[in-house]
């Protein structure tokens, strides 16, 4: 007899349990491609253990999506003022949609994940756009059609990418009703999205950076669908008893960004990698077949060839990646200089370019991510409060902005001396910025 429940061993969740339909989804060509997309691009050149791929992350996201779905829809967890739960048969169908959306949410990733997305995709597009294109392909339609019950590819896609991006590229944000919003919040949510929960735990584990760990078991067990004190629609919130686990998640995110995701050497490699990919590819194939053919393997093989041959496109960037000739940090955003000029990074980069030439300087400014997210909290007495009212960490944690100026290693000594002599002048010599 065919097995209906399968288990896949996983270093983060011990087992990822999958149904027969989900096995078919995992075995599909677009999903198998994720075995060849590094989760953290070239971060393994800084943290050698960080060689994990989007494949296992996506399995982990599906596992967590199922757990969260079960907790927040369980009859015992339902808040009396929230009346939108469908009947049990519909809930079973929704569980499948949410788990598949979680499994497929990264299908559109370009080689090396985010590294060259901005430079290679048409303006204003992100990998989620390709995720939907892949899900709408005939190949994936057939995979979904063969399931019982058979989920609508567009519904899976909507839940996988959320209202902001769906509204921008494929329909309207108002295509999401209150229930749809809750379902997509399970996967993509800023506060408790399982994508985030899995990548923090997994990246932390593989990179060997302990800051990403938090008590996700406690966190998930205390999640609830709650009315929001000011907004009209219910949101995923938490019982008061889970607040410390939620705070730990927020701090984990803050530390992981500062320590791992935006490590200056990783940022330097991202720049070299995206420059290489742009020079080699010129444009990325955005048709589904073209996209599915491109993995990290093709790029790595070309980097090796280009590093050896100065006549090949992207030779300089390839050489820097292959031979650790990456640009070095010369300046990093700091609170002291920010008080003098919020654009200190941009101003110092411009001054260094003027002094040493454009080719010797790179600048990377990372826009801040929201940290002090507001979500409802169910107090012991039954009242609803908010995260910012109940938690000092949620109230006080400021979005972290990161900016670095990087320099050609051959010019570092000159640049360092020049900056030491001129930084004060550069920062105080501010032009009139009004209209």
């Amino acid at each position: 007899m065919a097995k209906h429940q399968h288990e896949i061993r996983d270093p983060i969740h011990n087992f990822v349990r999958v149904t027969a339909d989900e096995v078919a989804a995992i075995n599909s060509r677009p999903f198998q491609r994720l075995r060849h997309i590094h989760q953290l691009a070239l971060t393994y050149l800084v943290y050698p253990g960080a060689t994990h791929r989007r494949f296992e992350h996506s399995l982990g996201v599906m596992e967590l999506a199922g757990r969260v779905f079960d907790v927040i829809t369980h009859e015992r967890s339902r808040h009396p003022d929230v009346e939108l739960f469908p009947d049990s048969e519909t809930l079973v169908a929704w569980r499948k949609v949410v788990r598949l959306a979680a499994l497929f949410h990264d299908l559109g990733h370009l080689p090396f994940s985010h590294a060259a997305e901005e430079q290679l995709l048409p303006e204003g597009r992100h990998h989620e756009w390709l995720t939907v294109e892949v899900l709408r392909s005939e190949e994936m339609r057939q995979v979904l059609k063969a399931m019982m019950p058979s989920p609508d590819p567009d519904l899976v896609a909507k839940i996988a990418i959320g209202p902001e991006k769906w509204g921008k590229w494929f329909g309207k944000a108002t295509d999401f009703n209150e229930w749809d919003l809750l379902m997509t919040e399970i996967v993509t949510g800023d506060a408790f999205g399982v994508d985030r929960i899995d990548y923090l735990l997994r990246d932390s584990h593989h990179a060997g950076v302990a800051y990403g760990r938090f008590d996700h078991y406690r966190l998930i067990d205390t999640l609830r669908i709650l009315p929001h004190p000011t907004l009209e629609r219910p949101m995923i919130g938490i019982e008061k008893g889970g607040i410390h686990a939620a705070e730990a998640l927020q701090l984990a995110r803050q530390f992981m960004f500062l320590q791992l995701y935006y490590h200056h050497v990783r940022l330097a490699y991202d720049i070299h990698l995206s420059e290489f990919m742009v020079q080699w590819l010129q444009t990325y194939p955005t048709d589904v077949e073209g996209h599915l053919r491109m993995t990290d393997n093709e790029i790595l093989s070309e980097i090796a060839a280009s590093a050896r041959d100065k006549d090949r496109p992207g030779h300089d960037s390839a050489r820097r990646i292959a031979r650790r000739g990456h640009f070095r940090k010369i300046y990093e955003q700091n609170a002291l200089d920010q008080r003098i000029d919020p654009n200190a990074v941009g101003r110092i980069a411009a001054a260094l370019r003027k002094e040493l030439g454009d080719a010797a300087v790179r600048e990377k400014a990372i826009p801040p991510k929201q940290q002090n997210i507001e979500f409802p909290i169910l107090l012991d007495g039954g009242e609803i409060s908010t995260s910012r009212a109940e938690s000092t960490i949620y109230a006080e944690l400021k979005p972290a902005a990161i900016g670095v100026v990087l320099i050609d290693p051959d010019k570092k000594k000159d640049a360092k001396k020049w900056l030491l002599d001129n930084k004060k002048k550069v920062l105080s010599d501010q032009m009139e910025l009004g209209v």
């Binding site: 209202p163 902001e164 509204g167 921008k168 309207k172 944000a173 108002t174 999401f176 919003l181 004190p229 000011t230 907004l231 009209e232 629609r233 920010q338 008080r339 000029d341 919020p342 654009n343 826009p367 801040p368 991510k369 929201q370 002090n372 507001e374 908010t386 910012r388 009212a389 109230a395 400021k398 979005p399 972290a400 902005a401 501010q430 009139e432 910025l433 009004g434 209209v435």
Partner: protein, 178 residues
């Protein structure tokens, strides 16, 4: 005019400052809807990309910009019993110093928006901003046509509420044209 990020921040900070000076709550809904009114009713070229979202017009670009302003200490958030309000941050003095002419140019527009929107609840703001959205995006400019559009995307808004919101927006347009 192409507006730069610092000038955008200056106008948003002025909005928050004026709102709080009147002791009015200035949460994200208030900022989102006020900026929408500044762009679409007062023609202030802030150039944030708005789409019709769950609670009326919403700009993810503006949301990201607000986070940047918080990171740069231009705005800060203060939790109150009924939600969190924005307040001007320490770096507002820097903004005021370096964007004096931008602030002077758009002060009247900000005053107009604050005078008409400050102190209103989030549901009222949603109705008004949605009414303005359909006023500037639909061909059918009749009060009935626009009210019907509001009801179509937001069935929880009553006929009477939708109609009143459209009429209110029309009143303000007349006031500005006069």
């Amino acid at each position: 005019m192409n507006i730069n990020d610092l000038q955008r921040s200056a106008i948003v900070a002025m909005l928050v400052k004026e709102c709080r000076a009147r002791d009015a709550f200035c949460g994200e809904t208030m900022v989102q809807k006020s900026v929408f009114f500044l762009q679409k009713l007062l023609n202030v070229p802030l150039e944030f990309d708005f789409q019709l979202y769950i609670y009326g017009p919403f700009s993810f670009e503006l949301q990201q910009h607000l986070w940047s302003m918080m990171a740069d200490d231009m705005l800060t958030v203060r939790p109150l019993e009924y939600g969190s309000t924005f307040e001007p941050g320490e770096q507002v003095t820097y903004l005021e110093k370096h964007t004096a002419s931008t602030i002077a140019e758009h002060r009247d527009a900000v005053d107009f928006v604050i005078e008409h929107l400050a102190g209103r609840g989030v549901k009222h703001l949603e109705r008004l901003a949605t009414a303005l959205y359909f006023t500037v995006t639909t061909d059918d400019t009749s009060i009935e046509g626009r009210s019907a559009k509001i009801r179509e995307v937001k069935p929880h808004i009553s006929d009477d509420e939708a109609r009143k919101a459209v009429e209110e927006v029309d009143e303000w347009r007349k006031e500005l044209a006069a």
